[in-house]
Amino acid sequence: MDQVGATTKASRMVYLSSIVLLCLWILGPLYLLAVNALSSPEAINQFPMSLIPEFDLESLVFFMKFNGMVDALVNSIIVAVLTMIFSIGLGAPAGYALSRFDFIGKEFFRVMILMTRAFPLPLLALPLAVLFIETGLDDTQIGLSLIHTTLALPFAILITFSLFSGIPKELEEAAWTLGCTRFGAFRHVVLPLILPGITASAIFAFVISWNEVFASAVLTIQNRTLTAFLLQNLDTAPLHLKFAGGFILVIPALVFIFAVRKYLFAMWGISNR
């Protein structure tokens, strides 16, 4: 009996320590990046590295003052916000239609949406570069956000589809019988319930755009986004600039995953089927 107790205790120890180890595997590299970003340029080039940051903001200040960096940061935010608006604005109605109506072509539409994920979407930036030059959309924030919307829209449709499906039709029907119009019922009954989920998928769209490198680098020249700017300067930029840039790129990710953690699995679970 004692021996059984000992083995279960031992296996529990192995189990718990592997969980801790895997957490450290994720957090360790992030910590090391933070150490570098929060140290002075001299400390970064010094050897061997200290494991404790100096809490010196010189690198980050240098980053912010670097020519074109603030513009790139602003561009990234504008493009991401536009992507967020486009993908929810276009995606939510489609998600609602999929969840509420049976119509001819529904299955085809759904499969098409799923299929888009099987293509290397950033590559579509190549022919669009030509189209954009012809229409004057080249090197603009709105042009780039349209490409990013192509990346984010299928997700927005599938996520909102699953969110709307979670709200019973009967609630809306009850509102109609109480004299609400179709729009009124949507506005007063469905919308309040769905808003947190919509926010989550909007944040998701924001991050897809914020993180995208390839299309941003191909489609912008003057109006570089942060990722495109960093990529362009990888060869020449000093280390502390790269690390500060990486740090700024990562911060929204931490907030984002925390904000949408409740929805993460529902989002992916539904898009499996």
């Binding site: 590299p29 489609a94 293509f119 991050v207 280390l239 990486g246 990710a253 931490l254 953690r261």
Partner: protein, 285 residues
């Protein structure tokens, strides 16, 4: 009431459909035509492909992309399965652990490359560690052309670190769909933890495994920014060559040709995964 309005669903999906037609279907078709149009001649030809294939960098970048995928994806699959099963049995702290494990989901590939550069650059943490262990007496550059293996390892580690989370999320969602009764029945018949995993979890997880693998393999063929940050031009990959042709050499025909190669690989592997992991007809959880 729902069926009364015949037009409404079409009105609702029209904006999204129109958008995807312009920004997905159109560029998809024109990347194909672009690949077959060469500046030196009218009409369609295979010249772009000939140009690309005959360049010495093509076969290396193809080889590198495939090798990297072959090294990274199996590790990620195993790791994601391990993490998903571990978290499945958890009661306390499950949400916290999952939050930490899914952080990389929000991190861009460029940032991931920079994060691992912190460790692998000359005055970075790996050299600092080796120094304090007495293995080296002074920091030597690690990511150089004399050291292709080190570049490969650094890129592979960064990819495993960054992109295991996407498989994890899909698998955790998938495991959540498996009814608990199956496990109860299995343990009534005396199945061990391993047998439960091999006989219950794995077969029932097949649809999720399919999705996770397809998504991950396609993304692996698109690897770009991680490589740019860690290997630069020392480790050419297909997506990087596409970028070079489009941006540095201003040869969009050749860029489109490589794009089609990536697309072809993606489709071929999607079909392969669908075939190998096919879900028998009529079976569902």
């Amino acid at each position: 009431m729902w069926s009364q309005n015949k037009q409404l669903p079409y009105v609702l999906i029209a904006p999204a459909s129109l958008f995807l037609a312009v920004f997905f279907l159109y560029p998809f078709l024109s990347v194909i035509t672009q690949a077959f149009e060469h500046s030196s001649s009218d009409g369609y030809s295979l010249k772009n492909f000939q140009d690309v294939f005959s360049h010495w960098k093509f076969s290396i970048s193809l080889e590198n992309t495939l090798l990297l995928t072959a090294a990274v994806v199996p590790v990620q699959l195993a790791l994601a399965l391990l993490m998903a099963t571990m978290v499945n049995g958890m009661t306390k702290g499950r949400e916290f652990v999952l939050y930490i494990w899914t952080i990389p989901l929000g991190i861009s590939d460029l940032a991931a490359g920079i994060i691992w550069l912190v460790i692998f650059e000359q005055t970075g943490f790996l050299n600092s560690l080796m120094m304090s262990l007495g293995l080296i007496s002074q920091p030597t550059p690690l990511l150089t052309y004399q050291n292709p293996m080190m570049i490969f390892v650094a890129i592979a580690l960064a990819e495993i670190w960054r992109a295991t989370a996407i498989m994890l999320v899909i698998l955790v969602a998938g495991i959540g769909l498996i009814p608990k009764e199956y496990y109860e029945a299995a343990s009534v018949f005396g199945a061990s933890r391993w047998q439960q995993f091999a006989r219950v979890t794995l077969p029932l997880l097949r649809p999720s495994l399919q999705t996770a693998l397809i998504l991950r393999v396609i993304l692996a063929f698109e690897v770009f920014a991680v490589v740019a940050a860690l290997g630069g031009t020392l480790f050419p990959v297909l997506m990087g060559e596409t970028y070079t042709y489009q941006f540095d050499l201003l040869n969009s025909g050749a860029a489109a040709a490589i794009a089609l190669v990536i697309l072809g690989l993606s489709i071929a592997f999607t079909l392969l995964i669908l075939r190998v992991l096919r879900v028998p007809k009529g079976v569902s959880i």
